[in-house]
């Protein structure tokens, strides 16, 4: 059974069709890539999955739950974490506090307990700190844990976004152009990180990217978008040989 299934999703902005009857099916534990040129509707798909936009047509299921009826925060709590293409960190919070916001999302303790410092709240708080510390370690941000997010370097900010999404303990992680603005060696490092996250944390990863090499390298399955339509999907090898893809995308010398 696929963990995420989009069927016949369409989206419009002021009469402009951004997505046109897109179907996607993502199996559990996959690293799934969506590629396409700028404006193909990649980020729109993310915004639909996470509930920021509601599609004009179609349905989307996450483990049998129709996400259409849920607000963004509930979708996040179900176990869908995401990063943003244009980094959206909580700039004036410390690195570890950025993670604690996500931990709040899945916390079981209510605000009163928090305010009064009940034992269950304190126990949970300790747990959260511990887990957040581990995540920071994993993404190589431990030493920066107490700094403000806006004092981090660009690469570190990207990794912090991933860490923050992971703090939601997601079953599905959405990465929006994780390699944007990175140099070759950073990209290699990123590939390792993504793979190890998937393996160690046992989750499914969906990423959008226009860097072909990265996608071909780590994705087990790929969908290609062009002008809001899915023109192909399959494993990297078949995508590489797909004629439509070559003509509309690869052919342009990527």
């Amino acid at each position: 059974m696929p963990i995420l299934k989009l069927s016949d999703i369409s989206m419009e902005f002021g009469g402009l069709r951004a997505l046109d009857s897109v179907d996607l099916s993502i199996e559990e534990h996959q690293i799934y890539g969506i590629i396409g040129p700028n404006g193909a509707g990649k980020t729109t798909i993310f915004n639909i999955i996470t509930g920021i936009y509601k599609p004009v047509k179609g349905n989307l299921f996450f483990k049998d739950i129709n996400l259409k009826n849920y607000p963004p925060y509930k979708i996040a709590r179900m176990g869908i974490g995401r990063t943003f293409q244009n980094i959206r960190l909580f700039q004036k919070l410390s690195v570890i506090d950025n993670l604690r916001v996500s931990a709040h999302g899945i916390s079981k303790v209510n605000i009163i307990a928090n305010m009064l410092g009940f034992p269950n709240s304190r126990r949970e708080e300790k747990q959260i700190m511990l887990k957040s510390g581990q995540l920071l370690e994993m993404l190589g941000l431990y030493e920066k844990g107490m700094e403000l997010a806006d004092s981090l370097s660009y690469g570190e900010q990207r990794r912090l976004e991933i860490a923050r999404a992971l703090a939601l303990e997601p079953a599905l992680l959405l990465l929006d152009e994780p390699a944007a603005g990175m140099n070759a060696s950073e990209k290699i490092e990123l590939i390792d990180t993504i793979k190890s996250i998937r393996d160690n944390m046992n989750l499914t990863i969906l990423l959008v990217e226009h860097d072909m090499s990265l996608v071909m390298n780590i994705c087990e399955s790929i969908a290609v978008l062009d002008y809001g339509r899915k023109i192909a999907d399959g494993d990297p090898a078949s995508i590489r040989n797909d004629e439509k893809v070559i003509s509309s995308y690869l052919g342009m010398g990527a």
Binding site: F84, F90, D97, Y142, N200
Partner: protein
């Protein structure tokens, strides 16, 4: 305790200290809504007047204990906080500011027409039940709860709304609920401070809770540093004491006050202590674990 304090401290200074205490309660309320959550509220005086009038009327016409009176005032304000919080879900920034200004004006006009509240004449002879120890006690509780709340993960979620609402939602933060909650809590503290104020001043009238009062409280939060508890407290202390010292140059006081705001915003836009992170001093990162994953 109050007897001891009254003996030790000159009445004039004691009065200023008590006013500082009340202002801290008021300002910490606004700090929650505007400083922490980033919902610009320019009608805090409206909540304050709701609390003040409720408490004043109750203590004039009933024999309820003072604590009950205070809480009733605060609850009345909190109720309106929720009502005003609802537009904050749809409106942002300056639009919200205008709605809150409008709300405070409506409340003021309501009290101008409110028979039981003495209309424009106001209410006089409110029993003076606010004492140093009561203000001090409530202030300490409020500060304590603010600190525990803002240091908890819920607190961080509140800040995250100010920092980036969309990302906050993507992190599973129920921004709708927290925004309304913050408006309610801010209004609650506004009403609480209002009740204490009414019972301390003997006399309240609608004119006192005008736009300038809201601005005064906002300035306290901004001067100290938005979202910072020590900052807000410092802002309150400075802006409560400064006018007393500046009385010497009475005529130029407001002039100076205005100029100070501009200069402060240019040279320290985050307020005096907005960019200091007291948190660092208190909390440490958990110990580094033996590496479990081989990345």
């Amino acid at each position: 305790m109050d007897a001891f304090i009254t003996q030790q401290i000159d009445a004039y200074y004691l009065r200023i200290i008590i006013i500082i205490g009340i202002n801290i309660i008021l300002a910490l309320g606004l700090n929650l809504t505007t400083g922490v959550t980033g919902q610009l509220s320019m009608g805090h005086a409206g909540f304050m007047s709701l609390g003040a009038y409720t408490a004043a009327i109750l203590s004039l016409h009933t024999t309820l204990p003072f604590v009950v009176v205070l809480i009733a005032g605060a609850m009345a304000a909190a109720l309106f906080g929720i009502i005003i919080g609802i537009p904050s879900l749809r409106l942002e920034g300056d639009y919200l500011a205008i709605v809150t200004i409008g709300f405070a004006e409506i409340v003021r006009v309501f009290f101008l027409n409110f028979e039981l509240g003495g209309k424009a004449v106001g209410l006089a002879g409110i029993p003076q039940q606010t004492t140093f120890s009561i203000v001090f006690l409530i202030m300490m509780v409020v500060i304590f709860l603010n600190i525990t709340l803002l240091n908890s993960h819920t607190g961080k979620a509140l800040y995250s709304i100010r920092e980036n609402e969309i990302a906050a939602q993507a992190c599973g933060v129920n921004t709708t609920q927290l925004k309304i909650l913050c408006f309610a809590m801010g209004a609650f503290l506004g009403g609480l401070g209002g009740g204490l104020y009414a019972s301390y001043m003997y006399y309240i009238s609608p004119g006192e809770f005008g736009f300038m009062k809201s601005i005064e409280i906002l300035n306290m939060v901004v001067l100290g540093g938005m979202g910072s508890i020590p900052g807000t407290i410092l802002g309150v202390i400075i802006l409560t004491i400064a006018p007393e010292f500046l009385r010497v140059v009475a005529d130029y006081r407001l002039l100076f006050y205005g100029a100070m705001l501009v200069i402060l915003m240019i040279f320290r836009p985050n307020g005096l202590m907005g960019d200091i992170r007291w948190y660092d001093i208190k909390k440490r990162l958990p110990k580094k674990e033996v590496k479990k994953c081989q990345s």
